[in-house]
Symmetry: D3
Subunit: 250 residues, 6 copies
Amino acid sequence: MTDQAPATLPRIDGRAPNRLRPVRLVPDYLRFAEGSVLVEWGNNRVICAATVENGVPGWLIGQGQGWVTAEYAMLPRSSKQRIMRDANRNKPNSRGIEIQRLIGRSIRSVVDLKAFGERTILIDCDVLEADGGTRTASITGAFVALALAIRKLREAGQIGKKPILTDYLAAVSVGIVEGRPVLDLDYLEDSQAETDMNVVMTGAGKYVEVQGTAEGAPFSAKELQALLALAGEGIGQLIAAQKEVVGELG
Amino acid sequence: MTDQAPATLPRIDGRAPNRLRPVRLVPDYLRFAEGSVLVEWGNNRVICAATVENGVPGWLIGQGQGWVTAEYAMLPRSSKQRIMRDANRNKPNSRGIEIQRLIGRSIRSVVDLKAFGERTILIDCDVLEADGGTRTASITGAFVALALAIRKLREAGQIGKKPILTDYLAAVSVGIVEGRPVLDLDYLEDSQAETDMNVVMTGAGKYVEVQGTAEGAPFSAKELQALLALAGEGIGQLIAAQKEVVGELG
Amino acid sequence: MTDQAPATLPRIDGRAPNRLRPVRLVPDYLRFAEGSVLVEWGNNRVICAATVENGVPGWLIGQGQGWVTAEYAMLPRSSKQRIMRDANRNKPNSRGIEIQRLIGRSIRSVVDLKAFGERTILIDCDVLEADGGTRTASITGAFVALALAIRKLREAGQIGKKPILTDYLAAVSVGIVEGRPVLDLDYLEDSQAETDMNVVMTGAGKYVEVQGTAEGAPFSAKELQALLALAGEGIGQLIAAQKEVVGELG
Amino acid sequence: MTDQAPATLPRIDGRAPNRLRPVRLVPDYLRFAEGSVLVEWGNNRVICAATVENGVPGWLIGQGQGWVTAEYAMLPRSSKQRIMRDANRNKPNSRGIEIQRLIGRSIRSVVDLKAFGERTILIDCDVLEADGGTRTASITGAFVALALAIRKLREAGQIGKKPILTDYLAAVSVGIVEGRPVLDLDYLEDSQAETDMNVVMTGAGKYVEVQGTAEGAPFSAKELQALLALAGEGIGQLIAAQKEVVGELG
Amino acid sequence: MTDQAPATLPRIDGRAPNRLRPVRLVPDYLRFAEGSVLVEWGNNRVICAATVENGVPGWLIGQGQGWVTAEYAMLPRSSKQRIMRDANRNKPNSRGIEIQRLIGRSIRSVVDLKAFGERTILIDCDVLEADGGTRTASITGAFVALALAIRKLREAGQIGKKPILTDYLAAVSVGIVEGRPVLDLDYLEDSQAETDMNVVMTGAGKYVEVQGTAEGAPFSAKELQALLALAGEGIGQLIAAQKEVVGELG
Amino acid sequence: MTDQAPATLPRIDGRAPNRLRPVRLVPDYLRFAEGSVLVEWGNNRVICAATVENGVPGWLIGQGQGWVTAEYAMLPRSSKQRIMRDANRNKPNSRGIEIQRLIGRSIRSVVDLKAFGERTILIDCDVLEADGGTRTASITGAFVALALAIRKLREAGQIGKKPILTDYLAAVSVGIVEGRPVLDLDYLEDSQAETDMNVVMTGAGKYVEVQGTAEGAPFSAKELQALLALAGEGIGQLIAAQKEVVGELG
């Protein structure tokens, strides 16, 4: 970030540096899932669906707690170049694995795993269309799908009244593009960014994940602070959108 | 099929035996694919997307012709019980493989492979939601995605004027449920059917695939004829719907 | 099928259009299998072997019924071009998977799965030499191997007297070659066929599977009828051959 | 081997300690393979088939020499307990891999790899029925299949007159059973053997492979010598049988 | 981090909160690698080895630049519980994949990929013994192995004089344990940490990666700053240790 | 071996034909393993580590005995050409599988499997650096790791006093290089050897494995005897070295 960066110059799509792309959350998008949402965020479209299953992974059996995990995949034509399906690759999809670990870990940070017995909640994030930021859209949507599933379970009397979710949770990307910190990078900005950072935060404004990567030049402490501030702004708006769909956390 | 079968009794969802569920084709559903369509058919939702790539599989190189193939997958929460992703299975998804072979073979029957050079057109059929009949919805939609992709290529001057598609193509299921031949089985009917048959036909009313299977009791020659007649009725309506979206075959 | 097709012209190997190639069934070909047969059908040689195991697949446990399934493979030098072993491929053998699903499904249609307890009968079909029609030879032989295994189990007092097999079962291919419907295509005819159809029928003359595919041009309703008629003729002869080896169904 | 071992007591099947089981070599067993043989050796039945392909593995390209390799597999019902197909295992078939490496290495020891250009000869050994000693039957048969393939290539004028095979080659097992060295163990003897040894030798009586394993107690130098002597006797008879089928090495 | 945290209380192993464990770098640990180092860091022992190969991955061919990548694995008995080898797992080792992507990305940030032609440098990080912090030890060692390999290439005249490394690079973990920010967590601390953060920095004190994760409770902005400060202290010492082994960057 | 072979000519590294390279055994090399040793043998460095786990493989359950098995792998830069990790190969590492089967089988020959209950001892052999003879180094070291693990278990009172090891066990390679039998081949000799033999023997001088392979020309009976004699010499020295580290077998 240089002092010369003309902070008022509009971005490629005309947004101000601290503006999110339009976000729309369509709840109950799938008939069968316990909870689901279609996230439309700029040109991204991601379906998040929560499945509640009895039982937990082997290493948790008998510990009287549940588990939450996630899977992430992109439809082949979600992007400009067709993407080979994971099932057809000869080697693991490293990027996808990293993303789904991030989603699962993030969501677990606001879940009281002891509050819903030996159940596993699996959240599928499937990208119909991608335009930069599918991992933050997935985390933000995964939280919604989970909250809707918990509400449904509770209304059906299948779980007790003990709160399961300890806070709201959303994620956003920030980065340094052409020397200037900006919020919520689209694909084009992302591919030009010198630094790219994903931030996951709670409704209370605390950090769950901070993942900053220098794609081009390393970044300074000052730039890091500017990025964190932008991320905080974006998270606030995202959590407001979640509240409209999810309501109060039960 | 017994004579006692009360042919006028409505089906579970009130349809007459020879009625299709409502079908809606949403063209250009994906931004990036050369051709794409969302097929909404009863409670099924399937995205079909055509990708045009240079080159052909190794065994076709140098023969001056193209290739058309298909892939088929279901999103994990497209059905009541969550389905494991193909990439996470220890063994191949036999049902999926059989379906995508059927889609590819069916589509190729109306394509002049020599008319578009050494290119491969790959049609992805991804099921967002399933309610019986996803393979026939996939074939019917795959044809539309292909036709739209060809039109786009032609408009961009990337292929010559020689016709590539020789006819329209659609598919429908028929079956014997509670002793009575019916058209277009939904999931519930399909799971009760004594016989299940998928029929792929051209706009000219010729057969491309006839796949009949006795799930319960073997079926008689008379029943077979009744099923084929019903299938013919359904295909006619499907091809009419395709024509509205695709227009004349160029 | 055009009217001009000289119906009396002999085929490549001199057969009449409605003639099977010679079929020979060698029972008890393997020492260890509960039931086995070597099928010699024209130049095809296929070993079918039935194995009876205690237990059923996970999804059937506790339902008080058995299961029948099949596996199919070709020896590497069963054909003119050596075939890579399935274990050495990087991707699943789609054709083989489709065939073994067909064999299993066909056989189950004449088995009372509730009549032999929580057992699994696995029928291995291994092709020593191939010349067109190995899937129909496999189905026809699989039935014999199964019937022999059941007889052995019954003679050993390991299963009760309740009939397990509800009918005989055989399969044959038919197709349209040079515009003329013919029975039981060999490899050369198969590779030239405009339409190829596999038909699985019971001793009572009912259909279990009808799988017709237009390899070249789509086929008409009239052609479909001619093919079904030819198939019926062939099946009758095959079931007569089975009866000589298997005798009465117990 | 203790001195008390009653050397004249017959073996389970009545053979003398230095007797082979009956061996029969059926040449040209498969229509398509360049060379093939059915080996019937006691109750073992193994098909060996040689395939000649142009080209060599990547690491040999451009070195002006050929390559010989082998594959080995057992049909599922070749043994008392059904064997899972390699393609269905979750992990590699270690025993099979070890055997096919042994076959390939053994055969190469009598082949002049520089005498037939950049070709690969692949020898498939498929066990129809097993009764102990399938690896030695495979080596012995692989040599025959190879010799027949070379003769066919030479008669067709596809290779020059330079000798390719430098000697005959056969293999036999020996072992210590109930304290007594015996030749050519069947399955029952093999499972009781204290020591098991496979010996591969040339027509000139030289060793190509000696693989002795103490299954129970370690073996002494004296026992080792007795086993080597028995193996030599057996190899002589096997090579005599090969000569009847193969004739002079060209 | 609570105000009550007794900042002067020693840690389990007696270290002050801002103290690294002892670090020792043993250069040229392997005979064959172009560059190698054994990193002994507390009870961690990691071998880092750089391999220089001609050629680049397919997607880089013809772009006139090189590539740097990394692989990471743990020996089975590097930890208290034996770890299954990656080759024996049924599914990919997600943690390992994430770590090796981090190593490769970090190292590339200080490499001028255009300065060494179409070569690939692969850095293997193999953990002999693990005690918390193997990923930061791997990054710190990978830089050393790379620098040694480059020096060797340069001394051998195989690359030009253009600088390849733009700065030093090291990594360290920080975290919040029992409410107090500490530097360089060992295994025991890591398993108790509320927050865990890995920081990768250059010799110039700029950030390359910042990966903070709330394992327990989310962390505040104030805690984040304290962690970043600690990390900076540790990195300085690590880079000093690197300079002793590597000397000036050529 | 020709009579002309100048038996007194030194080998490449100056050793006499019957000389081992220097062998050093560093016990307890790993903190966590129940027993471990670093084997330095010439330029080979191999870590052997024994892990004791409760339970046995499925086919042994309920038979009141234990199991011993081994795994073998090479670090990527253990050799001159980097070796791909097993986990990244598309096909099984046949050589590695063969070696680890040999290690496991050899070790079991001196273990009383009934003496330590339903436990599995898994011995990992990981090659840090290779220079010919890693399999014999692995066997020799695996025995030491096992003996150390058993002593530790016994000292901890976790197993009874019944002896578990019935004898010492070591392995060495011998071969014919330039016509002369030599002991303990290094990589260069191994790649030139006409015949290569690995011999595994007990402290009592009995054979456990004899694996001789003609890499070039077949070998005579006389050569075989010379190799066996050399192997015996080497084994004696190796077992002496083991005794210094392991002491008396408990």
